[in-house]
Amino acid sequence: MENMKEKMEGLIYLEDGSVYRGYGFGAKATKVGELVFNTSMTGYQKILTDPSYKGQIITMTYPLMGNYGISDIDNESGGIHAFGLVIKDLCKNPSNTNCVKTLDEWLKEQDTPGVWGIDTRKLTKKIRTQGTIKCVISSEGISIEDAKRICGSQELRGDWMKEVSVKERTSLGEGGCCRVAVLDFGVKANILKSLMSRGCSLEMFPYGTSAQEILDYQPDGIFLTNGPGDPEEAKEAVRETAILLRDADVPIFGICMGHQILALAAGGKTYKLKYGHRGGNHGVYDTETKRSYITSQNHGYAVKMESIMLGGMEVTHLNLNDGTVEGMAHRELPVFSVQFHPEASPGPNDSQYLFDKFVTLMKGGKNHA
């Protein structure tokens, strides 16, 4: 059926030379990124605005996108971070009381290209079997030759966390319960909300802030956020976190990139998963409560299980599907982290208890990790 689509302006070109054609939507643009898939059936706006997707082109496995449009209340950051969106079917007449514009309009505004009419299941299976792959997305009718050239001319970056972090120290929230130093690698709004709603006041620190500056703030707790890229590229953050691990005697909690940086700081290792975990349906087993939770996930890297043991950590959470590390805690210190996203958004809220645990620890509670 591919020959039917010769005239279509939407193009997905993969580094291995394979081509998928569809209709362009959103901004007329061409971008290069890492192609990943996400299995969430709802939450496309939150996904696109999640800074962790910086540098990535997202294909959604659920075929009908844009159904409820775009609202003013579903942004996880100031705008779209993903480099492109690949979908099967685009809804042109969204319906929801909070809808203010269509997905198409929003992508245009946000200068992000989209392609629809793609066999996203085929693409997903391709990623599943070959791994995440470098990809060109174009909605402006470029030729395959152009796509190939553009693909070759740009390198994928792994240091996006440096770019999406806040540029200067920012105070947030007036809660009097705890002072939290937030090491920002590209935080999702709902993480901040989850902390503030528990009475925390937050101090956001830009990427590269020294451990000393953070300690000088005299926080009750330190939080390491999610963020895009390869954790091994976050050398400065790993170094400073190692100092914090040694010197700060307050609870530390990390999510996703924060978890990986914490692992590296503790002397552990991370590795790239073949195609990552992105969606809102993975079961995670909590070795402490012996219960399982359905989690929101978005990560391309994982922490090597054996590697963290030496650094004084133990595994607290395991992915039920592939047995990868989903969480760890320090054997003695009130330091813990998870690979998945307890702040959900999008995804299930089952693991919100982790924020409670962090707050309890900061208040000097005995909920020791």
Partner: protein
């Protein structure tokens, strides 16, 4: 925790007969549960009175009690079997209610039987309205203002406070029986009374109506560790106000933002936790589209119709996992059966859109109210899967077998604008077609439709998109791009040809040159994230085809589509058996079907499952893909058989009886001629194509006559007429007579009706058993009480039946199954009907005679000979017990339908009463059917003139002798008096008011059926709605006396496994 070691023997309660609101989904759930338990090495005992099911088949449970689902029977069985535990959550409301009763009476405790999966408190909390309200309040979940009432006065006072509209729901009922929305005092009174009567505990819930809100459902599972997962979310296209069983339902939710989705998910999880259910549960929500506010409508603390749908929609076997949880497993200890590698503790994701469409029985019940509301009326449903919503919707419409090829049906297309708008507002079963037509005619736009119907704009816009595409097809040249677009939005070839006006060859050429064919994608629970092992496919127009076609020889079984009256679960039974037999014979078995409730569409039934519409386009596409050695059409009832002509003309190898003979059996004239040649009589008759011809036929044949259109399912539109007036009315109202649609007029042979099911290999025939009907000819065989083995026929008659069957099967070259209905008037045997296919009685006879009929049928279709198959030929040896099939009706649920028995089938299900003694078997049959059996009180009798005879007088006399007070209408009273029977004469009016109060049994053989304005129609309706035993045929009335006397004598019944 792994499974509890203390469980060595478990008992499962089935759901009994199929009724509206409780259908094939429980066969599916029960079968899965039995298999899940059995594979753990636990001895599995099943109690279910429904013989048509796969679950009661040999090999599913270790022991099957096909016995009435009564407390007495259960106690007896528990005493005998002493199981360690009992699973009630797989038998629908019937199973739960029965388990509750056993628990309450201390019977479970007495025999030390643990109730697994659900406990009494959970059931009470979920189903008792007051308890539920309390629980919701305690966990902070919103519910609408409501009261629990047991009297009308309470209801009235409540409404005064909160205003109309209000919803009335009886506690403990099936499919919302007796519920409704009241908008004024009169409706309130009616609904309250009916609701209180229908509730098992005399309670109803009155609540403020949230009609017009979005209706959202979640299927949740929980284990004993408190791990919870959502299997599937569903959004009803029809907003709150239409029962979800009667709604078009889409999975997953389409119009919910993540926050809204998660809000309801949190609530569903909280609810299942608070109920402490270990297994599956369904939670229904109403969501205010204007502000995102929600309320909890209802919780079903068990597997349900929705969970069957969710299982098929998501590919996650809810019942199987629920059974494992009941055994003690936790979700995170189980594997995903579809991927086989990943965990069962996850939430399935769909990478397609699912549409469920209900199948309603209104084509058969002309007088029944078509209005949809809170009482479910659908008998079955279809599901379709595709990558676009439009395509899923259109596929569903072609699946439901209402002869549509797109979003149009003639009745709606032919309405004038005013009529259309009126029907659109009426909220009936054809609303979706009205929406399409109104948009097509540009009488409305999406916004005005939304204001009127409160169907979410998203759905309306999608329908509008379909109409726009129709217009593009009408106005633009059919390019490859347009054809592809139309195909990927689900348009059928017929529709594309009609709209575009291009000849079929041109369309084919565009298709072939541009390779525009469907591909098949897999349902894998995970959106392609993991490799999956299950061969469960649907078609779509997209890039990659995932089907791997093997090198094996394949056989395709075409399924029976949605459950409807006249074509029920029996045919699914035959399809499943067929698939198993095909596998056993060493072929790859492929099934195509669209019914989400059934075992045939379970992911591990066949080697390959195509979940597809059975439209010829879709069937041919699968055949083209798989290139099967042959196709079996005789198991799927009329649905699959109707494809015979089309497949034959496309040179497809139809296994079994050749097409020419299938056609011949249905061509009245040719058929009669053939029978004449072999010396077998048929009731005299003819096919007519005009009124004049019809009355000429009357001249020749004389009344009474049986009239019907040719090619019918379940005697649809068949009637016995006694006079010119009735005939004229029939020709005018019931059928549109024409040259293409002849009407068959036959002499009505009064006598015994006999049913023979047989397997033939073209030479020999094997008759597993002969069933004799209690009711005389004139009552549809599906609605008659029938007895195996025959009990009044002489050896000579039996020999003749065997001989005739042999001759007919030979003459018709039957290979496989055949069902023949005979009439015997005391002198002569007539053939009424020959169905060269599986029939309703195949599962019954297979089970009672232990002759695997379907398996033999497959073997002979594949060239084996009966004489080599080990069951002999001729009539198989009789079993040493009687099996009495008693039909079960859903009359109470269908407002204004006439329940009088006639040639048109009305029952939705059946039960079997089995005993060595015929009377006891009859008694068991009535018990199992749930018929109320009064032992004293008053019988009201009113008979039509042809029934005022000696036999009827004798029967009524026996009621009198049994101690019943006899009341009668004037004419009937006079007749009885003449016959020496005392009867109090009362008017119809008096009778109507006394139904359910002073009157306990109604015996009424109506002059005419289907006439709401007649004197007796309202009496029958009221009696049915009040749950009275109603006999509309004197033979049934006589049989019922057997049950009455058994009960009066407190006959002790024995319960035995098959």
């Amino acid at each position: 925790m792994p499974r509890k070691a203390s469980l060595n023997k478990l008992l499962i309660i089935g759901s009994g007969p199929i009724i509206i609101g409780q259908a094939a989904e429980f066969d599916y759930a029960g079968t899965q549960a039995c298999k899940a338990i059995k594979e753990e090495g636990i001895e599995t005992i099943l109690v279910n009175s429904n013989p048509a099911t796969i679950m009661t088949d040999e090999g599913i449970a270790d022991k099957v009690y096909m016995e009435p689902l009564t407390e007495e029977a259960m106690e007896d069985i528990l005493k005998k079997e002493r199981p360690d535990g009992i699973l009630a959550g797989f038998g629908g409301q019937t199973g739960l209610n029965l388990a509750m009763a056993l628990e309450e009476k201390g019977i479970l405790e007495r025999y030390k039987v643990k109730l697994l999966g659900v406990n009494r408190e959970s059931i009470e909390k979920a189903e008792d309205r007051e308890e539920f309200k309390k629980l919701m309040q305690s966990i902070g979940e919103p519910i609408p203002p409501s009261i629990i009432a047991t009297t009308f006065e309470e209801c009235h006072a409540f409404v005064k406070k909160i205003g109309y509209p209000v919803i009335i729901r009886p506690a403990y009922t099936l499919g919302g029986t007796g519920g409704g929305v009241a908008t004024n005092d009169k409706e309130l009174e009616l609904l309250c009374q009916r609701g209180i009567e229908n509730s098992a505990i005399g309670q109803i819930l009155l609540e403020k109506s949230v009609a017009g809100w979005k209706e959202i459902e979640y299927e949740v599972m929980r284990d004993s560790r408190d791990n919870c997962i959502i299997i599937c979310s569903m959004e009803n296209l029809d907003p709150v106000g239409v029962h979800t069983g009667d709604s078009i339902v889409v999975a997953p939710t389409q119009t919910l933002r993540d926050e809204e989705y998660q809000m309801l998910r949190d609530s569903a999880v909280k609810i299942i936790r608070s109920l402490e259910i270990e297994g599956g549960c369904n939670v229904q929500f109403a969501l205010n589209p204007d502000n995102g506010e929600y309320i909890v409508i209802e919780v079903n603390p068990r597997v349900s119709r929705s969970s069957a749908l969710a299982s098929k929609a998501a590919g996650y076997p809810i019942a199987k996992i629920a059974a494992k949880i009941a055994l003690g497993y936790n979700l995170d200890e189980l594997k995903n059966y579809v991927t086989r590698e990943t965990s069962a503790c996850f939430e399935p994701v769909l990478d397609y859109c699912v549409v469920k469409f209900p199948k309603w029985p209104f084509d058969k019940f002309r007088t029944a109210s078509r209005k949809l509301g809170t009482q479910m009326k659908a008998t079955g449903e279809v599901m379709s899967i595709c990558r676009t919503f439009e395509s899923a919707l259109l596929k569903a419409l072609t699946s439901v077998e209402i002869k549509c090829d797109g979003m149009r049906i003639p009745f709606v297309s032919n309405l004038d604008n005013e009529g259309l708008m009126k029907k659109l507002a009426a909220c009936d079963d054809e609303r979706i077609f009205c929406i399409a037509e109104a948009l097509r005619r540009e009488l409305v736009d999406v916004e005005s439709l939304y204001e009127m119907l409160r169907i979410d704009r998203w759905f309306l816009n999608k329908i509008k998109g379909i109409i726009d595409l129709e217009k593009t097809l009408q106005t633009q040249p059919l390019t490859k791009e347009l054809l592809y677009e139309a195909e990927s939005r689900g348009f059928t070839d017929t529709e594309i040809l009609r709209l575009s006006g291009v000849p079929r060859e041109v369309l084919q050429d565009i298709r072939i040159y541009n390779d525009i064919f469907p591909v098949y994608k897999m349902v894998d629970t995970c959106g392609g994230e993991f490799d999956a092992a299950t061969p469960y496919y649907y078609s779509c127009y997209d890039g990659e085809d995932e089907v791997q076609v093997s090198d094996e020889e394949k056989i395709l079984v075409v399924g029976s589509g949605p459950i409807r009256i006249g074509q029920g679960i029996e045919f699914d039974y035959c399809c499943v058996q067929g698939v198993w037999a095909i596998k056993e014979m060493g072929y790859e078995a492929i099934i195509m079907n669209n019914n989400p409730e059934t075992v045939s569409t379970d992911f591990d039934t066949s080697d390959k499952l195509y979940f597809e519409s059975l439209h010829i386009d879709n069937v041919m596409n699968v055949i083209k893909k798989e290139r099967p050695y042959g196709v079996i059409l005789q198991f799927g009832g009329q649905t699959s058989l109707n494809l015979a002509e089309k497949l034959y003309s496309r040179s497809i190898n139809i296994l079994g009886t050749p097409y020419q003979y299938i056609d011949l059996a249905e061509d009245r004239e040719k058929f009669c001629q053939l029978l004449g040649e072999i010396g077998i009589s048929v009731p005299e008759g003819m096919a007519v194509t005009t009124q004049e011809e019809a009355f000429a036929a009357v001249e020749k044949l004389g009344y009474p006559l049986v009239v019907r259109p040719s090619y019918v399912i379940g005697g649809r539109a068949m009637q016995v007429v006694y006079s010119d007036i009735e005939l004229r009315r029939y020709l005018k109202e019931a059928v549109s007579i024409s040259a293409e649609h002849p009407v068959l007029i036959d002499k009505y042979v009064q006598g015994k009706e006999i049913e023979v099911d047989a397997v033939s290999d073209g030479e020999d025939v094997l008759i597993p058993g002969i069933m004799e009907h209690i009711e005389r000819t004139g009552v549809h065989s599906g609605d008659s009480i029938s007895v195996y083995p025959h009990f009044t026929l002489s050896q000579e008659v039996e020999d003749t039946l065997i001989e005739y069957t042999r001759k007919i099967t030979k003459a018709l070259k039957v290979v496989g199954l055949v069902n023949i209905q005979y009439a015997y008037d005391g002198n002569k045997i007539y053939v009424i009907e020959v169905n060269p296919r599986a029939s309703r009685t195949v599962p019954i006879l297979s089970k009672v005679t232990k002759v695997p009929m379907v398996k033999l049928a497959v073997a002979v279709m594949l060239g084996r000979k009966l004489k080599d198959l080990g069951y002999g030929t001729g009539l198989y040896k009789k079993a040493d017990y009687y099996a009495v099939k008693v039909p079960v009706f859903s009359n109470a649920k269908l407002t204004n339908m006439d329940m009088a028995l006639g040639p048109e089938m009305k029952s939705t299900g059946e039960v079997l009463g089995i005993d060595t003694n015929l009377s006891r078997a009859v008694y068991k049959g009535f018990l199992a059917a749930g018929t109320r059996i009064p032992t004293e009180g008053t019988v009201f009798v009113t008979l039509r003139d042809p029934d005022k005879n000696a036999a009827a007088a004798k029967t009524i006399g026996r009621y009198a002798k049994a101690g019943f007070h006899i009341c009668a209408s004037e004419g009937t009273g006079a007749f009885l008096k003449e016959a020496g029977i005392e009867a109090e004469i009362i008017s119809y009016q008096q009778a109507l008011s006394q139904i359910g109060e002073e009157i306990h049994i109604l015996i009424n053989t109506p002059k005419v059926a289907n006439r709401p304005e007649s004197d007796t129609f309202p009496i029958r309706r009221k009696a049915i709605e009040r749950g009275l035993p109603v006999m509309t045929c004197m033979d049934t009335a006589a049989a019922f006396l057997i049950a009455i006397s058994m009960k009066q004598n407190e006959t002790k019944l024995e319960y035995r496994p098959l």
